[in-house]
């Protein structure tokens, strides 16, 4: 998930923040929301990702490792 985060941080940095017109809003920044945002941004759309928590990641960020590969879930 590390990579997901980095990519996201990257695309957040690159997108312009002055206007509030976008293509898609993603509600919820768990693993699914993050992936949807990344794919949408990569497909040429401007995305707003909103989450009520102070950081994205959702439940998956709380998991120690994921199964069955036992990769670190962060």
């Amino acid at each position: 998930m590390d990579q997901l985060y980095k990519n996201l941080a990257d695309s957040i940095r690159k997108s312009s923040a002055d206007s509030h017109a976008g293509d898609v809003m993603v509600v919820g920044g768990g693993v699914s929301g993050v992936q949807a945002s990344l794919d949408l941004a990569a497909s040429g759309f401007k995305v707003y990702l909103v989450d009520r928590a102070p950081a994205i990641g959702g439940k998956m960020a709380q998991l120690d490792k994921t199964f069955p590969t036992n990769d670190c879930s962060i």
Binding site: K65, T69, N70, D71, C72
Partner: protein, 216 residues
């Protein structure tokens, strides 16, 4: 700490270079077998390279435990710390390279140089005779423990290493078989066998006047 993208990138020359520089130990940390991030499975190649270099180190009297390979994934911080502490402890027990083995600095440099010189040859031989695409870690280890592995190592690598060392010696000055055997700390009959072969192949000649062997 030197960063490479895959343990497969670690050239045996790097290891010898580090030892020649006076580094007391070399540690290689890689991804677990089956978890290589590349399709090459470089970690298994690294394992077989390390086992080979350890045999070579043993051959020249350097404690092979100075070279270590461990699998540590990016998620295993605690294991990494444990492994590193263990590596350091082991190296402290062994003492400085050369000194710990009772080899003089010059002799150590000389022998490491002989191995380094042999590397291109080893890589070629490996290509022709030794490289097997092992599927698992167990198979790599098994191969290096097997009689077949031993035999190939002796024939393909240990003998040329002795000859390489002999030739390095003879580059300084012509020597008798006895002197060579003493300097290399190798059995006299072994030395005679190598000399015989080298003379036949024309690398070395026997100088009748000096009663010494010299480079051809």
């Amino acid at each position: 700490m030197v960063r490479v993208m895959c343990t497969g990138r670690v050239d045996p020359a790097f290891i010898l270079r580090a030892f020649s520089n006076g580094t007391d130990g070399v540690f290689i940390g890689g991804c677990w077998p089956g978890e290589c991030h590349y399709p090459t499975e470089g970690n298994l190649y690294a394992l077989s390279m390390v086992l080979l270099i350890r045999k070579l180190l043993e051959q020249i009297g350097v404690n092979p435990q100075r070279l270590r390979l461990e699998w540590v994934s990016a998620a295993e911080g605690i294991r990494f710390a444990e492994v590193m502490n263990n590596v350091v402890k082991k190296l402290q027990e062994l003492g400085p390279i050369g000194e710990g083995e009772g080899i003089e600095q010059n002799a150590l440099t000389f022998r490491l140089k002989a191995v380094e010189n042999l590397l291109p040859y080893i890589k070629l031989v490996e290509r022709e005779r030794l490289i097997v695409r092992f599927e698992t870690e167990e198979k790599v280890i098994e191969f290096f423990k097997s009689d077949e592995g031993d035999r190939l190592f002796r024939e393909l690598i240990a003998d040329p290493l002795a000859i390489s060392q002999m030739m390095l010696l003879l580059r300084e000055k012509p020597l008798s078989a006895g002197e060579i055997s003493e300097r290399l700390r190798l059995d006299a009959s072994e030395i005679r066998r190598h000399l015989h072969r080298s003379v036949k192949q024309g690398f070395i000649k026997f100088d009748e006047g000096q009663k010494r062997f010299a480079l051809a």
